[in-house]
Each structure stands twice: as structure tokens, then as C-alpha cells.
Symmetry: D2
Amino acid sequence: MMTGNEYKESLRKIHPRIYYMGEKIDCVVDHPMIKPHVNSAAMTYDLACDPMYENLMTATSHLTGKKVNRFTHIHQSIEDLVNKVKMMRMIAQKTGTCFQRCVGFDAMNATFITTYNMDKKYGTNYHERFKKWMTYVQENDLMIAGAMTDVKGNRSLKPSKQADPDLFTHVVEKREDGVVICGAKAHMTGMANSHEMLILPTTNLLDGDQDYAIACAVPVDAEGITHIFGRQTNDQRRLQGDLDTGNSEYAIVGGETLTVLDHVFVPWDRVFMCGETDFAQDYVARFAAYHRQNYGGCKVGNSDVLIGATSMIAKMNGTRKNSLIKDKLTEMIHLAETMYCCSLACSYEGVKEEAGSYYVNTLLANEVKLNCTRNMYEISRLAHDIAGGFIATLPHEWDLNNPETGKWIEKFFVGNEEYTARDRIKIARLLENMSGGTALAESMHGAGSPQAMKVMILRESNVEQKEQFAMDLAHVKL
Amino acid sequence: MMTGNEYKESLRKIHPRIYYMGEKIDCVVDHPMIKPHVNSAAMTYDLACDPMYENLMTATSHLTGKKVNRFTHIHQSIEDLVNKVKMMRMIAQKTGTCFQRCVGFDAMNATFITTYNMDKKYGTNYHERFKKWMTYVQENDLMIAGAMTDVKGNRSLKPSKQADPDLFTHVVEKREDGVVICGAKAHMTGMANSHEMLILPTTNLLDGDQDYAIACAVPVDAEGITHIFGRQTNDQRRLQGDLDTGNSEYAIVGGETLTVLDHVFVPWDRVFMCGETDFAQDYVARFAAYHRQNYGGCKVGNSDVLIGATSMIAKMNGTRKNSLIKDKLTEMIHLAETMYCCSLACSYEGVKEEAGSYYVNTLLANEVKLNCTRNMYEISRLAHDIAGGFIATLPHEWDLNNPETGKWIEKFFVGNEEYTARDRIKIARLLENMSGGTALAESMHGAGSPQAMKVMILRESNVEQKEQFAMDLAHVKL
Amino acid sequence: MMTGNEYKESLRKIHPRIYYMGEKIDCVVDHPMIKPHVNSAAMTYDLACDPMYENLMTATSHLTGKKVNRFTHIHQSIEDLVNKVKMMRMIAQKTGTCFQRCVGFDAMNATFITTYNMDKKYGTNYHERFKKWMTYVQENDLMIAGAMTDVKGNRSLKPSKQADPDLFTHVVEKREDGVVICGAKAHMTGMANSHEMLILPTTNLLDGDQDYAIACAVPVDAEGITHIFGRQTNDQRRLQGDLDTGNSEYAIVGGETLTVLDHVFVPWDRVFMCGETDFAQDYVARFAAYHRQNYGGCKVGNSDVLIGATSMIAKMNGTRKNSLIKDKLTEMIHLAETMYCCSLACSYEGVKEEAGSYYVNTLLANEVKLNCTRNMYEISRLAHDIAGGFIATLPHEWDLNNPETGKWIEKFFVGNEEYTARDRIKIARLLENMSGGTALAESMHGAGSPQAMKVMILRESNVEQKEQFAMDLAHVKL
Amino acid sequence: MMTGNEYKESLRKIHPRIYYMGEKIDCVVDHPMIKPHVNSAAMTYDLACDPMYENLMTATSHLTGKKVNRFTHIHQSIEDLVNKVKMMRMIAQKTGTCFQRCVGFDAMNATFITTYNMDKKYGTNYHERFKKWMTYVQENDLMIAGAMTDVKGNRSLKPSKQADPDLFTHVVEKREDGVVICGAKAHMTGMANSHEMLILPTTNLLDGDQDYAIACAVPVDAEGITHIFGRQTNDQRRLQGDLDTGNSEYAIVGGETLTVLDHVFVPWDRVFMCGETDFAQDYVARFAAYHRQNYGGCKVGNSDVLIGATSMIAKMNGTRKNSLIKDKLTEMIHLAETMYCCSLACSYEGVKEEAGSYYVNTLLANEVKLNCTRNMYEISRLAHDIAGGFIATLPHEWDLNNPETGKWIEKFFVGNEEYTARDRIKIARLLENMSGGTALAESMHGAGSPQAMKVMILRESNVEQKEQFAMDLAHVKL
């Protein structure tokens, strides 16, 4: 297993073509915009080497029998599923942000099951190929970006019906030694600082969509790939100093790219699905369920930080003992712990798949996400309510550093005199950045839209059985 | 273990002094008002004898090694805690109501731990006494009413400061052979059809409140006890027929009494706490946590029935395929499953106590209840929204039976012609009764007020640690 | 104008065929089930004769120039629209219930406009006929039931496509002297104690539905009419005493009937629409908008009573000074006043119609109702939260009257010793009855389903203009 | 009245000492950070000169009889109060942001009443002084910043008890010709581009706080004043181009300063309160009520833009016809129109003050704000829900302009092919910026904390009367 530093060094050896602010980035490790994202991913490496967190951060590979970083592990038990959630909450408490490794982690676990099931039905050998690649990933402790979300074009049309065939990733050529693919993947969390990407389909597919049923592994710096690094709320503050970013070391969300695949060649031993449209929906659903499971871990850990910041700001304002403030803090905790309960429940109620690995309870995994899309907004609202207008109008840190204005800021932004104005501003900036803009919008996307999720919930909850309960009790016989 | 019928017969042998509508009730088994409550409790006996439900409904006593009804069991594992929740959801799906045995169940489990802890500190022998009584309960498969909630008087005053000393149950005389107690316990679920009650304190106690620190077991028909059976929404409908009650066999909620204790004698071997005020708060908290755990079982099972009834009424109205109706049904499911997740999580995250038994995670148990106090109202609102005004103005079943009017009702209350008007009315009556009045108000009480719960959540969630997370990330050093 | 007593006497002179509990009712004024509804309607007569309320309760008829009860008035100004809302809040504060005259009031105002518009297009003389009938109504100060809601059958089918043609009211024969109609009207608020009914269509109509486009006035005791009086939550309590009903004088909601029209003859001078399908949708929309306007009056007045009861019960429990209790009371007030604001706004923003009368702002009238369908549940939830389990298990009043049990109830249900147990129970019973069952379900129905309303809101809010605002600011030119 | 351009020219003639990013700003009109705020304020001047908006934008001064910009008007009628709300919604639809003139507008109207009342009690001549200054403001069509919010220090202490006496603005010296004041005002909306400020107290004052009871008018460039311009979410984007700011011409919120008052001299004829602590609470309450009234105007106009942007993005995504999307758009409209209703209601229910001007209904004005603090978050949540993750990861506009990356963005960010990727990004950027960060946090502050408001609501809603209603109906006599 690599340490955080070894991970950073390993990134220096690969050379993805990546752009930001109209320029090509030389090295992601040193670039001020991407550095904090590298730091938070590095945390997942460092903690795995810390004996204190061994139980949560590592596991024993069922492929090699060796200890591996949990983020490269195929879940072998209910305990693995639960530890995933607890690990995520813990890392999020330490970083206050997205650490970007769960997408690949979930993609790998979904692919493990789906390749097994495809082979069983079609006699293909995707599963063995995939295990071989997974062994390589574990041995080298690689960071993998899960590459599911296509750009999708007109959302009311299936992939093969789009005006531009590239709006969903597809095979444009099958060769003896492999396939050539075109397309683009959007919102690629952690892609900029991953070693490889694991591509999978993004939606259910119908007859005629065969070319779109493609799953494969590709290095992030493969020929034909261009990454465009996306903006975040307040990203420019990083270029001007530390204080105003709130969380200068780890940022607030994960860095994300638009990743363009322009005639990228993939050799056959890295192809894990090719044409099996009937497995696309289940594949997507499995990835999504694993991914929804996470939010009650990472988002709750982030909420712990935000609740802590809110409690501190109340102390600094002199309002922490007010019973209505306490009531609101409790409400924030309630909203966070409810998400945590859902993640734990969908993990504990997981099942063993025929492939041998463990899968979450999908109905309950949907609950995680549905609560998350609402609760994160309410948690932010309450944070703002307690913090007040303060966070909306704080001065630039350079004004704090300029003696002419800094003296006034230091004098007038003291609240409760036990704390300095500068510390109060630091906490306010953390709270501000964690509770608005991209940080909020991010709660909504990922793992499917709330609408799609609701459809799934209805399908999976066996309403007919519930109707029967009602008819039995009302003595209705049809 | 008794069957449902044996349970009913056993009730005929005891003679509690119980009043309703100004009259003393002869036999609770035959009384039309109490009969459905007896039926739902009987279900807990019958299902325990059904091999299909053996896993959920029974357990192996750690006192005798024999198979016992789970409702008399002291939890010996995490699995026991989880099975409790799943059992409750299952029974609620079959009865659509409260089956009244959980209060005693929870009181016994709380008492098991507290007596152990008291003995450890004070060298008393409450724990051995209690185990002896528990063995008797298990051997005879008794139904026990948990008797916690005192009438409380002025809620801003402690027990010993009330205008009337009897407003909290207390010891009025200590004799060589036992104690004499006075007081009254309110909202006594299942008391009318239990064999015994297990009395415990209802609030934390201070110096001066020693006489109020009393826990003991008493038969429901002991000398000095009077029960007054409470009203429920629409209770009178039971006296006039079956259809309008919605769920004629099992009713909608549990029957509850005001139980007056007028100089009741309790021999020492049935006394499990006497004067140890410093244990009262923990005792109450343990009972409450076990009890909050339940709501994600029983209320979710009830919600399953209500959701089923709502889905049926939409079919009968011809609106079931409307996408907004489906969205609302999904929302109802979401609200229910969120409660279920919290109950599962607080069970799976339970801990082994020094006494040897298992206890739930209290922070997460509070989440169950807090979600329940809100979600049940929202579920009802959505049920009404989909059902429409129909449920608010349905005619009396005697009008349905009168040919003069019945012909019109049968003609005009047909919706979707695949269903009869009578069946539509039956489902509507089930829905009406499950979604209003007492059924709703009951979601609010039990196991402490929402205010009290919020105070607990704040205490248990370690806000200081969260503050430290925030300060670390914001680089604030105090 | 009649007094309340004159109104009651006038009811003795008409003889509708009305059933309840399987029996025909002799006289609605004396029947214990209908009496409180008569009382609350009588309040609308008495207050009109009270000089203190003259401004709100009366108006000057534009037909006769005489002073009339506002409930028979055609709105002549914005002030009339606003006074309607204020009148309703005031009466609801005095009765704590539905006073049943608004449906007819709204039907008359909608008919006034629609008959004018039909005549203009088709050269019919409906408007003159209607004014003649209105003059008769005003001169005799009649109570009119608005009869819109048909039983509707399968809601996914139009009237003429139903399996049974009678599921919507329709003309079965046109004669020289008038028409003969068949059908049934459901949820007929106040019908049992009205003098006449004003029938109007219940949905938009298409070609082929001509027979369903019928509006007319009919005495409630006309040949061929049968009324079946519907049940309400806890209605039977009225037959057993006063205390448990909570509000014995006026009940909790309005009494409602299923009114069957079996070949009812209507002379031409009482027919106000006959075949004009293209006016049905607008007619229904106008009635609905006037009706939605009301909820921020009557429901807010009822909420005032419920908030008052909740505040009293907190005093009686000794919790009124707790800051979280005060916060919840404030929240209840907030939810109520928001509804009031919407009613005021849709009135003040009303417009003058070509017919000469005033009409509400329909977009804002929809807001009243949409808030009402949610806020009433939340208000009830908060009332239960503050009141606690107390209201769910109170004993029967006959147990309070029986000395054996009454002595215990009087002793143990004292809270704050400044109040007696009996007074505490009275307030609790008022709160219980106002906050559950039918009282809640009623908030949902009336004036169209929330779904229908949302469709209207989207249609009326000019989203295209909003899109243009956004495009202008984002510099998008299409 | 000035035009927008004349207003801009007038700003060039004053020279406030104002800092941003550590540097003194030469001219606010030209500075890229402040320019859009100047533009939106200029809109209030331009529209007043446009005959199309004369009714909403102008009024007749009761001081001079001349036509004045409504923002300098003292309300003379209910119609004035209503037109204020409608004017604000209209301007917000055109600017999509805060136009910054309402704080001064409200401060002037509050001061008009309070000076009258002080003079009446104390025989002072504040009112005449104030009218003289108001005449000057109207004649010169000045933009006035309302300067209420002090920095407040430890919020649990009164002004005179703070560790640093300057944490609330106070008089440090009374001279023959005027007073000298020290302190700082925070969150000063529009201060950077106003001509003068009107200072008023920020909280109720007690005995001992006399020096803090100060109201006065001061030019923004008076000796001793330093302004520090605050940061906003994504403010730096303005320095790099237009597209990513979403609304490049007018920005998203109002610009705000920390305004330091370091021994500022104010001549007596500009002092409108000096020592009258007993009027502070009422003064603050009046300002706050006028200010709360606004939110149902400006925030609703902004919501109109946001709803329009969301509807457009759904069209561009190809999801606009989905019924759940339509339902969510309707919900956004519902939340916005509810706020509008509250603003209209508190205006229409306004009252004439003894001073001759009109004042809003304060209870209902509080409803505006309370709904606003919640609804704006829910509106944003729904906007994000419909827009999806798209807005969280969009690339920098320089990447769109770089041909290497721009070609991919143009190709892959096409949704529905009727629209270009660039237009889709423009709308997404507008939506992103309007729905997060400062735009949200701003909904919470201003015109007092939600807690303070709730206390006011409880006080003003006459709960005792509501209790009496309940007691009357429950037949309770105390």
C-alpha cells in the first residue's frame, strides 16, 4: 500500500492532458487548483498506513490474500459494507470534503458482480479479465476514477437516437486487439488525480444500443483523452490565499472533469462488457446503489464538521446557550444522523451475491440518497440561520492583511471576546464554503436523479403486498 | 408458550377492576370495546406457535434454556435486537394496529440492566429477584404491561414538590413483608388485557424524591387497583357494527387505561428498586431507548397497510396510473422506510451491557422517534390527499344496510367499475381510521416528548468533537 | 334578514327526505346529530342582526338596494371580497367549525358571472333568470347549498364515458316546462339544513357531454331527492353527552350529505345552464377560486381556536413558559397567518368582471388552498406535540360522571393546580376533536384536488415570461 | 429626478474611502467589482424616468408636491405601500438581483414616524429637521444607505456592557454645533454607491445606553469614515469575464460594506435622535417591519428569474414535459407566490400613523420574512434538482474560449439540440449563481434573525384572545 506521499509521487509519473482556465496543466500535484483534491485523496492513503485506522481503512484481498487499501477491495462480508460507511464518515470528519475514491470503488464492486452474471449467461470471460485487472489495481494500490455519467444530450432520447452519436460513450471500431471508443464522461470526480478510469454504461439500453454497452479500464493519460477541469464555487479564492477558502488544505468538494474520449483504443483484456445491452440497467443500478450507500458516510462526516463550525460560530457570537439555538443545532444533528442510519441499514441488510461478493439493500440505499437531497439543504439553512448575515459580507483576506483596514476588521469583528476576530472569520469562512454553492448542488447529483430514484423505490417496495395487507384487514376479497 | 386461544382463556381467570362508559366491565375478552385489542395481542401468541415465524417470534431463554415467546425475552445478541424490529413490522402488517406487548418487553429489558447496575453499586439483590420473576413470566408466557408514565401533575415541578404527593407513584409505607404504593399510571397500553404490570419510575429524581424511586411487579387485579379504559377516536363505531371501524378484528391503536394504585401492597421479592434515586434517570432512558427502537418496526408495518390501502383507493378511484399519484405513494414509502432504517441502525449498532444483555444505540434510537413524530403526519396527509374528501363524508354502515338508501350508495359510490362500492368503502374506512385522530396523536406520545428527545440528542452527539473537527480544518487554535 | 331562531323555524317548514344511521330523520333542527350544524349556520343569521358586526356580516344588494346578509350577496367591490375573508375568520373564531354557507355563496357568485357570459355569447337569458332567483333568495334570506361535486365514478373517464350515465348529474328529459335531471352530488356541506340547492357542473366538459352541462336551483325537499347524511369522526359522542365532543354547540366540521337526484323536475326559470359545454371549465374554475379564497378565513379562525386551546393546555400542563413550547406556538401562528395572507392577497388583487361583480385573483386563490392542505396538518401535529399523549387516552365522560371512577379522574388529571381536571379535559377534548380525523381530512378536499390546483398554478403563472427574464439576464437570444 | 447615467455621474463627484482586495478603490463606477451594483441601482433611476413605469416608480412628494422617485417617498396611502411591493418585484425581474435602495427607503419611512413620536413626547424638533433633510434628498434624488446593523460584539450583552464600547455606534462627544460618533455598521447594502447614509439604532436600549440612542444623516465620504467592501460568492469571476458570473450586468446580490465610523462629526440639523432610549425598540421594529415587507417583492422577482432559468434548463435538457418536472416547477412558483401574498397582505392591511404616513401590518410583515428564510432554500433545492449536477462542474469560460477545449465543450454540452451548448451554459451559470452561496445566505439575514421574529409574532398575535375563543367553545370558565 502506498503512503500519501508515494501516491503524490506516483501522480508525477503520469501525464494526463488536462486543462483549466484555458491552459494545459503541467502537474496536478503542484497546481493550486487541484492540489487540495490531491491532498484529500492522499489522506485515504495515509490513513490506511496508520495502525489506528487499520480496521476501517484496510481489508484482506480475496484475490491475493494480501492486505489492501479498502478503496480497492471487493466487499466480502456485511462487515465490509458497514466499514465502508464508517470509514467514509471518519475520513470526511478529517478532510471536510469529498476524497474522490468512492466512485471507482463502487464501479469496481458493481463490475465484479455484473461480469460474473454476464459470463454465466453468455459464456464470456469478462469476470476473469476483470479479476486480473483488479489484482493489478490492488498490487499497485491505484486510484481509479469511476466513469459512468455520459453527457447524455437530449434526455428524452435513448443513446442511439441522439442527434450526435457521441453523446453517449460507444464503440466506434472493433479490432482484433481491442476496441476504439468515442464519447465524453461528465462530472468525473477525482479523475484529474487518478491513475486509471473504469468506464461503464450510464443508462439502461435497448435493442439498437449495442455499441453503447461498453465497460473497460483505461489509463487517464491514454492517447485520445482530454480532461477539462470544472469550476467550483469560489475556486478562484485558492489563487489568492488560504483564509477565504475555508478549508485550504482539502477544499470543499471533489475536483471534477469533463473527460473527452476521442478514438481511445482499449485492448481486449481491459474490456469488461461489449454489447450486452440487457445487462446495462442492472449494472447501472448496482453502481448507483453502492454509490448511494456512501452519502450517509461522507456527507454525514462533512455535516459533523459543519455542525461543529456552526456550534463554534454560536459560541463566538455569544448565542450558544440560547435554547432555540440549541434546538436548531439538534435539528442539524438529527438530519445528519438520519442519513447515517439509512447508510448503516442498507449495509447491514446487504446480501451475498452469486459472484461471492456482498451487495447493499437497494431499497434502503435509495433512502440514503433521497434524504440526502433534502437534508443537506436544511442543514445549510440552519447553519446560515445561526451564523447570520456575517458569512455573506465578510471582507477579502487581503483587506484583513492590509494594516489600514485590518485594524478595523480585527477590532469590529470580535464577537464574544474570548475569541479573536481572525478566528471567528476562519470558522465563518469554513461554514460559508461548506454550506453553499457547489457544496449544495453536489448533494443533488450523483447516482441518479431524485426522480429516477423514486421510480426505483416504488418498483422495489412491493406495493402489491401492501395492498394485500390492507385488503385482508378490511375484509375485501377480489 | 400459549396459543392465542390459551391466552384468551388465561384472561378469563383474572378479574381486574376495570371501567368503561361509566360501567364496570365483566370480562375483557368478550367486551366489544376491548375484544379487538385482545385479538391483536393474541396474534403475538399465535404467530409464536407458527413454525413459519419461529425465527422472528421466539428465542431461547438465557434463564432457562427453553424456547420462549420473544416478547418475554432478554436480548442476548445484536440479532435479537434486529429481530425485535422485524418481528414488529411483520405483526403490524398482519394486524394494522398496536399489539401492546412492547411496553412490558422494553420495561423488562431495561429492568434487567438497571437491577444489575444497582446491585453492583449498592450490594442489593434486585437482579436475582428480577431474574426469578422473569423466569416465572417466561414459564407462564405472561403478557406484561410496562407501567412507566405517571400522571405528572404540574410538569414544571419535581415529584416531591407537587401539590398532591400521589401525582407520581410512590411508596407510602415500608413493611417487613413489602411496600405499599399509591399513585396512578396513565396511557397504560395493553394493561386491560395483560396479566401483570411492571412498574418503573417516569422521570429523573433528585434528593428528596426517594419514595418515588420504586420499581416492582404487580398483578393487574391486585387489591387496590382500578383501571379506567380510555376513549379512542371513533371507538363507538365498534358498538354498532364492523364496517365503519375499518379494522374490526384488531382495531387501530392499542387500548389504554388510567391505572389507579390505591394503597397497593407489593411483597419484597417483587420489588426491583426502592429508593435509589440516582438510578432513575438512567433507568428511564434505557426504557425509552428500547421503546423508541420499536417505532421503526410497528409504525412502519402499520404504514405498509396504510400505503397499501392508499394504493388500492387510487385504483378504485381510477387514478393509480397518474404519475403524481405514484410520486406521492413513493413519498409515503420513503417516509416509512426512513423510520425503518433508523430502527435497524440503532439495533445493529447496539452494545453488550455488563449485565450480559444487549442494548440499542441510544442516539440512533432517538432518531427513530423524532422521524416518527413527523413522518406519520406526512404519511397521513398524503393518504388523505390521494383519497380525497371521500373519507370525510362516508355514510353510516346502517345506511348502507337499509335498502332505501343502500341502493343509492351501492350505485353512486362505485368508482373504477372493476370494484364494488362496498369494497371501496371498506378500504376507505380502513384508511380513514388509520390516518386520523388517536392514530395520529399516538405517534407523538410514548417514550418521551420530542423536546426531551432533542435534549438527549444534543447531549449524546458529542458536539465538542465536531467543533474540534471544524477548528482543525479552519486552522483555529484556542 | 332572519335571526338564527327564525332560520331554525323556517327549517321546520321544509321536509327533506334525509337519512342517518339507517333511519329517516324527522326534523333536522331537533336531531342531535344535525343540531350543532344548524346552530353554526344560525350563527351566520344572528351575527348579521348584531349591529357590532354589521359591516362584515351585511351588504347592500345591487339587485334591490336593500341590506342583505352577506352570504346572499353578489360581490360589488374589492372591499366585499376582503370582508368575506374577515367575516369568515370572525365567525370561525366564534364557532370553531364550518358554518356551511360559503359553498352556496360561492356558487351564486360564480353563476352570476357565467350566466352573463353565456348570454353574451349565445343570446340566452340565463342571467335574468338567475337575478330573479337571487332576488328571491335575498328577500327570503335563504340558505343555499352549493351543489357542485358529482360522485365522479372512474376519475380517468369523462362524464359521458362512465359505465353508469348517472355518475355525473345530467338532463334525462327536456320538457316544455322544464328539465328532468338524474345523478348524485357528494360531500354536500350544509345541504341538510339549507333551503335550496344551486346545482352546477363539476368538471370541464367535451363534445358529447352536453347533457351534463346543467345548472339550476332546486328546493332541498323537491320530489325525487334523497339525502344521506355522512358520518364524521367521533360523531357518536354527540349521542352520549356534551363533554367528549369538544365543541358540543357547534361541532367540528360541517355536516355533509350524499344527495341523490332521482328524476327531479326543474322548471325553466330555475335553469341557468343547459348544454353549453364550452362554459363548464370556466364555471367550475370560478366557483373553485371563490371557494379557495375562503380557507384563509374559516380555517384560520378555526386555527385561532386550536392555537388558543393548545396554549391553554400548555398552561394547564405547566409548560407554557418553556421556550421551545413558545417556539412551537409561534410556528402554529405563522402557519395560520400565512394562509390568511394568501386569502387577503387574492381578495385585494381581485378584478371587476364584465358582469359587474368582483372576482378574486385566481393564481393567488390557489395559493390559499395549497398552503391549507399542508399547514392544517402541521398545525395539528404541533398541537399534539404540545398536548402530548393525554388527548389520545382520555376516559369517557360517563366515567368522569361515575363517582367510583370520577373521583380518580378528578384527582389524577389535575396538571398545574390552578386548573381543575375537568377544565383540562374540556380543553383537551376540544383540541383532540379539532385536530384529527374528519377535521384534518376536510382540509384536503373541497375546491379541487391539490394536483388539479398545481396544474392551474403552472398555467396561470406565465412561465414563458419568467423564461424571458432569465434569457435577458443571461444574454441568451433564441 | 436623475437618470441612471446622471446617477453614475453624481457618484463620480463624491470620494468615499473604500477598500477591496487590500486596495483603495478610486472610483466605484468603474471598478469591475462594484460596477454591476451601480448598474442595478441605476436601473431604479432609469425606470423612474420611463413613462411606462411611472405609476410604480414615482410618487408625489407630500413635502414639496413634486414628482419624486418612489425610493425617496414617504408612504401617503395604502396604495403607496402596495406599489412599493409591486415595484420591487418588477425591478427584480429586470435585474435578477438586489437594487440596494430599499434599506434607505425603509430607514427614512421609519424615521419619519419615530421623529414625530419623539417630538410629541419630548418636545424636541427632530421631525422638522428630518423633513428638511428629506426635502433635500428628494430634490437631489439622492440614494441613501440605511445604516442600522451594528457589529454587535457579544450578542448576549447590551451595548453599554460590551468589552469594547465601539461595538455599537455611539456618541463620544456632544458639541455646540453637533455630535461626534464612533462605531461600525456591518452588511451595509448599497453603501459603496450611495450618496449619504441614514444611521439609526440596531436594538432596543436600556437605561445606561443613552449614548447609543443616535440617529443621523451623514455623507458617505465624510471625514473619519472608511468602507471595506465585502466578498461575495464567486465575486472573482467578474475579474475574468462575463459568462461565468451568470448575470454580468447586475450581479446576484447587493454589494455590502463594513463601514467604520471613526470620530465622525454630525451637525445638529442632521441629528434625528440623541439619547431617547425608550424609542429605540419601536424605531428598530418599524424599520424591520418596512424591510420585511420588501422580501415578497424583490425575492419574488428574483425567484421569477430563477424559475424561468430552471424552466429553460429543463427545456434544454429535454425534460420539460415530464410531469414530475412540471410539478416541481409549480412548487417553486407556489413558494414564491406565497411570499408575494404575505407582502401584499401586510401592505393592504397597513395603517395610517399619527405622523400622517402609512405603516405596514407588522404581524403579517413578519410572515413575509419567515416564509422567505425557508422558501428561498427550497426554491434553490428544486432548481438544483431539476438542473442536475451540470451546474456544479461546468468548465471555466476561458476553457470555452480556448479552441482546443472549446470545441469539445460546444460538442458535448449540447442537450436538446434546439439549443447551443453555449446558451445552455449561460442559463446554467445564471441558475448556479442565483441559487447558492451568498444569494442563499442573504435570505437569512436582514431585518432581524428568525428567532427575534418569532418572539415578535407571538407578542403581536394576541394569544390570550385565542385562548378565550377556545375556553368559550369548551365551556371553561376560569
